[in-house]
Amino acid sequence: MARAVTQQRKLINTTLAWGIGLLIFFPILWTILTSFKTEATAIADPPVFLAFDWTLENYTAVLERSNYAKFLWNSIIIAGGSTILGIMIAVPAAWSMAFVPSRRTKDILLWMLSTKMLPAVGVLYPIYLICIELGILDSRVALVVILMLMNLPIIVWMLYTYFKEIPGEILEAARMDGASLKEEILYVLTPMAIPGIASTLLLNFILAWNEAFWTLNLTAANAAPLTAFIASYSSPEGLFFAKLSAASTMAIAPILILGWFSQKQLVSGLTFGAVK
């Protein structure tokens, strides 16, 4: 009896959850479907769901219209570069805060996070000017550095949280055995820290890939990544649903797949381990 009730409840839960899940996912699904339609089918009323002649013409059109490869390359360089640079600076900082804590460690961490509260728009013009002065406006270098700085507090926090979880006893044991600081880092800490570092890398890459404020304002022709490429479709000449969908699909597909793989890390990472 009780079992029948739970089965029934499970069925209701499943139906409800799948319904809501599909509803939330629908805009993405619709975009992907539309990208394979002709422009006429894309705006057909009533809308066509699956029964249409699938075509790749939008993808070819988008690739011909703009230098997609260049935007993609810029995205990869900017997101990848800022992530690697950020990790290189953040790992030592987070490591020292986690393993050699002082009374001010907590204050430093909070202060770092507080720099995230500085509204980007409040310092837009100074950064713009600095870029002009240094001759790096509309360059990938500028965005690598800016996005690195923007995400640095988050990376430090994430790494700090991961490093904190490495048990101190293991370190002490290594020290007892006479390991030098270098050996300690190389053979004891690094292997244990790699999963944390990897998920930080992944998340930071996603954040940098999707960042739009700085990329829209500091790039034009040379260094524009995919965020800016898509924004160019907001002009009236770009109001073609199928082509917009193809471009959108190409811009989000890599990161969507990466995101799905890192969903578990997302939680512990973005909440600094405060939610378990």
Partner: protein
């Protein structure tokens, strides 16, 4: 445990991050402060000298100021309310036994990875377009007049788009928190005859308070600065001009750096009021 040697090594390792962030904060901030006291029009004469607090007074007394503060607060508040309420409900639902939970979870979190420019454009054109959008088709199917979402219900539209982007985040965090809830406690309460609403109010919700705080904190940081969603949808028209967007327009579009900088200082003050409040909460949670 920490020796003098390791302590100085630690300082050395922290130095790059601290120095860079300090520079990132102080250099542009000082420049913004400096510009805010100047009449500075890059395309119309450049730096025209000091004007004291003129820019600050002009920015506040401009007819666009208070509406922009209101718009900011409505968007942030609206999105927070929607994402946290729906997030709690969705987290509870997803925590129930069901078939294909993993797949549903993947469907639900997907919007979080869609770049803001894409989600704004997809919503604007394919859903909210008054002639060809899917919502217009739906309205016509039911014999109703299609809505020009972004001009007639602009705030609602923006809140909808941004909520869609942030609901996955809230859900994911809250789901993780709910999974750590001791189910025996809930069962015991059920045995004792506590109705579902009471079990939710006295057991589930208090358990989630910490996770809700975290969602509140992270989302507020990002929502105060939303830009791309407005940039590609309304361009700040129809009452959707947030403080961020207003400053952006003053600085880049009308090239009035002095005035925009004064606005920037106001935005920084606003963000810091929120920050102090939020930091206290996080500071408390950090001790664990």
């Amino acid at each position: 445990m920490a020796t003098k040697h390791s302590r100085s090594a630690a300082r050395l390792m922290m130095a790059p991050a601290v120095i860079l962030l300090l520079g990132w904060m102080l250099v542009p901030l000082t420049m913004t402060l400096l510009f805010s006291f100047k009449q500075y029009l890059p395309l119309r004469g450049g730096d025209l000298g000091w004007v004291g607090f003129d820019n600050y007074i002009r920015f506040v007394s401009s007819s666009a100021f208070w509406p922009s503060v209101t718009a900011t607060l409505i968007i942030v508040g609206g999105v927070l309310a929607i994402t946290i309420t729906l997030g709690v409900l969705l987290a509870i639902l997803l925590n129930q036994p069901m078939w294909g939970q993993g797949v549903v979870r993947i469907l639900v979190i997907a919007p979080f990875f869609v770049m803001p420019t894409v989600s704004a454009l997809v919503w604007k054109n394919m859903f909210m377009d008054p002639t060809n959008g899917l919502l217009a088709h739906l309205w016509r199917f039911f014999g109703a007049e299609p809505v020009s979402w972004l001009s007639e219900a602009s705030m609602t539209s923006i809140i909808m788009i941004v909520s869609w982007q942030w609901l996955p985040f809230a859900t994911l965090i809250l789901l993780t928190a709910i999974q750590s809830l001791d189910s025996e406690q809930l069962e015991a309460a059920e045995m004792d005859g506590a109705p579902p609403v009471k079990r939710f109010a006295f057991i589930t919700l208090p358990h989630l308070s910490r996770a809700i705080t975290i969602v509140l904190l992270i989302q507020t940081i990002f929502l105060l600065a939303i830009f791309a969603e407005i940039f590609v949808t309304t361009g700040g028209a129809f009452g959707t001009r947030t403080l961020t967007y207003l400053i952006f327009q003053r600085v880049l579009e009308s090239q009035n750096v002095g005035l925009g900088s004064a606005g920037g200082v106001y935005a920084i003050i606003l963000a810091n009021i929120v920050a102090i409040f939020l930091m206290r909460i996080v500071g408390k949670n950090l001790d664990a």
